[in-house]
């Protein structure tokens, strides 16, 4: 066996140096806000149920007052398309904002690095610890880190499953050691994924596994915001002391302190130019601005800029690319809003009784039997009134006599429809069933079926 056993060609772990600055504070704020949202949302209540719950066994998704059914799958697909186009739009405007601030990979990695820092100290202490033999201190610190990581990962997995199983119930089941096999499996699966991605793999996910990292450059143009080192200003780089900051005029502004490299979470040197590994977190901008301040040089040797701005041209925000993405996005969002606001509260399917075309009753009356399936997507009960049209003299009887479409449920109603052959005529006829809500006469649903009379 040669080196084929290892999955790493080289295994030096990146420990990004801590940095303070505008963008770091923004990044921390985004991390806290997004994680807070993730861990808090399943605990929200809406009336007597969980506000956001994707109830897979019952095949119903609850989002505050709305209930979504499998028939509403189109909205989910639509939402995903909107998310995709939004990503394109933001990317064309501001580059990899998603990667640096909002991607779950980044957000959870930040959280895991914070925990690591609590247990193992700052960058140089962590690097020393990596190289140190297994002393008592190393064992203690590593154990502490693992306890923090595993607890956090398990809580993440528990929260994730809490979006699919009512989280209060789930919590009780865990406390009573009564968790179902699949719930346990998914809690551990998601915990493991979190631990692996944010604790172990980190930037490797972005470098080796992220498809967006590979195609995002297709959305870039010369007006897209990128993080860039001003080579003209910085080179030739060279170290110098603060005393002779001004005397060495043959040097560029880069003092070659390598802080920009040390703070980089993906381990690149931004001074080599834009690289696909760069997740645009702007840690190097913060680091360099701090040094520039100390050297009393102007800020912005590394900055958010555009290719046009660097070439001394004007950067445009409005341009064909952003207009196209923006317009498509606007149309999709307005369309979704419209579709959601006019979403039918009631839906009905009519199934004919399969056993008989018709039944003959006394006095020559003919009866056809139907099963009506009324879906009430809203969160209120609708008393229903039912009419059948299409033939003269139709009489309808339902079971139950006063049907109610129960909130968020599929209600089955049996309908017996009677007609006189003398009035209605022979053979098959198209008929239409219509239900109307007793709460609001605007809320209706209809469905077509066939009515059969003897052909004699």
């Amino acid at each position: 066996m040669d080196d084929n056993n290892s999955l790493y060609e080289s295994a030096e772990k990146i420990h990004a140096r801590e940095v303070d600055g505008t963008f770091d504070r923004l990044r921390a704020a985004a991390t806290i806000w997004l994680l807070g949202l993730y861990y808090f949302v399943p605990w929200l209540r809406w009336e007597d149920r969980q506000a956001i719950l994707f109830d897979l066994p019952a095949r119903k998704f609850y989002i505050f007052g709305l209930t979504f059914w499998p028939q509403d799958f189109i909205y989910l697909a639509w939402l995903l398309v909107i998310a995709g186009i939004s990503l394109f739009f933001v990317t064309s405007l501001a580059g990899r904002l998603w990667c640096g601030y909002a991607c779950p990979q980044t957000v959870w990695t930040n959280a895991f690095v914070w925990l690591e820092r609590i247990a193992e100290g700052n960058r140089s202490r962590r690097m020393k610890l990596d190289k140190s033999p297994w002393t008592r201190e190393k064992i203690l610190r590593r154990t502490a880190k693992q306890i923090l990581w595993i607890t956090f990962a398990l809580w993440t997995g528990f929260t994730f499953v809490g979006y699919f199983t009512p989280i209060l119930e789930l919590g009780r089941e865990i406390l009573e050691f009564d968790l179902g096999p699949w719930e346990s499996f998914w809690v551990f699966f998601y915990s493991l994924a979190t631990y692996g991605n944010a604790g172990i793999m980190r930037e490797q996910v972005c470098k080796y596994m992220c498809p967006y990292a590979r195609f995002q450059s297709a959305m870039f143009d010369h007006d897209t915001l990128i993080i860039s080192y001003d080579e003209k200003r910085g080179e030739p780089r060279g170290s110098r002391s603060r005393k002779n900051a001004e005397t060495k005029s043959n040097q560029g502004d880069c003092i070659d302190c390598t802080l920009c490299v040390q703070v980089c979470p993906v381990g690149i040197d931004i001074r080599e130019g834009l690289q696909y590994e760069c997740i645009a977190c702007a840690a190097c901008v913060d680091a360099c601005d701090g040094i520039m301040d100390r050297m009393e040089y102007p800020r912005g040797l590394i900055s958010y800029t555009t290719e046009n701005a660097m070439a001394g041209k004007k950067s445009r925000i409005v341009r064909p690319r952003t207009i196209i993405y923006g317009t498509v996005l606007l149309i999709l969002v307005v369309g979704l809003a419209g579709a959601l606001s006019s979403r039918y509260e009631l839906r009905m399917d009519v199934l004919r009784d399969r056993n008989a075309l018709y039944r003959e009753l006394s006095a020559g009356r003919i009866e056809n039997v139907y099963t009506l399936k009324v879906l009430n997507k809203s969160d209120r009960d609708h008393p229903l009134s039912l009419v059948v049209t299409g033939l003269p003299g139709l009489v309808i009887e339902t079971d139950p006599p006063q049907p109610i479409a129960v909130a968020g449920e599929l209600t089955t109603i049996t309908a017996r429809v009677q007609a006189l052959p003398a009035e209605a005529g022979a053979g098959g006829h198209d008929v239409r069933f219509e239900v109307q809500s007793g709460l609001d006469e605007q809320i209706t649903a209809d469905s077509d079926s066939r009515y059969f009379l003897p052909t004699n």
């Binding site: 080796y208 498809p211 040197d269």
Partner: protein, 111 residues
């Protein structure tokens, strides 16, 4: 490219070595097989079970007659993941064994 280590105003420690974690081809292959197929399986599962209730589906077939819907979703998901992995596996195989860009054949490996 030199590592460009210099003394900075604070006398900070020199930069760490630049040989950051890098995956082997084997690790890349594993990720390229399992990860895209995982994403594809998620989409397939959502589309499939968005239209079909697993209880109806498995209720009709004798060997799986008594499954809960959660088991149904899980079976479906792993089924899709395996199928999609096979597709990724073939893609990786085809790309890794193709003639190289410079026209030279890849070294044949015999075991």
């Amino acid at each position: 490219m030199t590592t460009g280590v210099g003394k900075n105003p604070e006398g900070l420690p020199e930069d760490a070595p630049r040989a950051w974690r890098r995956w082997t081809r084997k690790a890349e292959n594993i990720a390229a097989i399992l990860w895209p197929s995982f994403l594809a399986a998620c989409i397939a599962t959502a589309v499939f079970f968005g239209n079909i209730d697993p209880v109806d589906l498995y209720g009709n077939s004798a060997p799986l007659a008594e499954v809960s819907s959660l088991t149904g979703y899980a079976i479906g998901f792993f089924f899709f993941w395996i199928i999609c992995s096979l597709s990724s596996l073939l893609s990786v195989l085809l790309i890794r064994t193709s003639r190289r860009r410079d026209g030279r054949a890849r070294k044949e490996t015999h075991h």
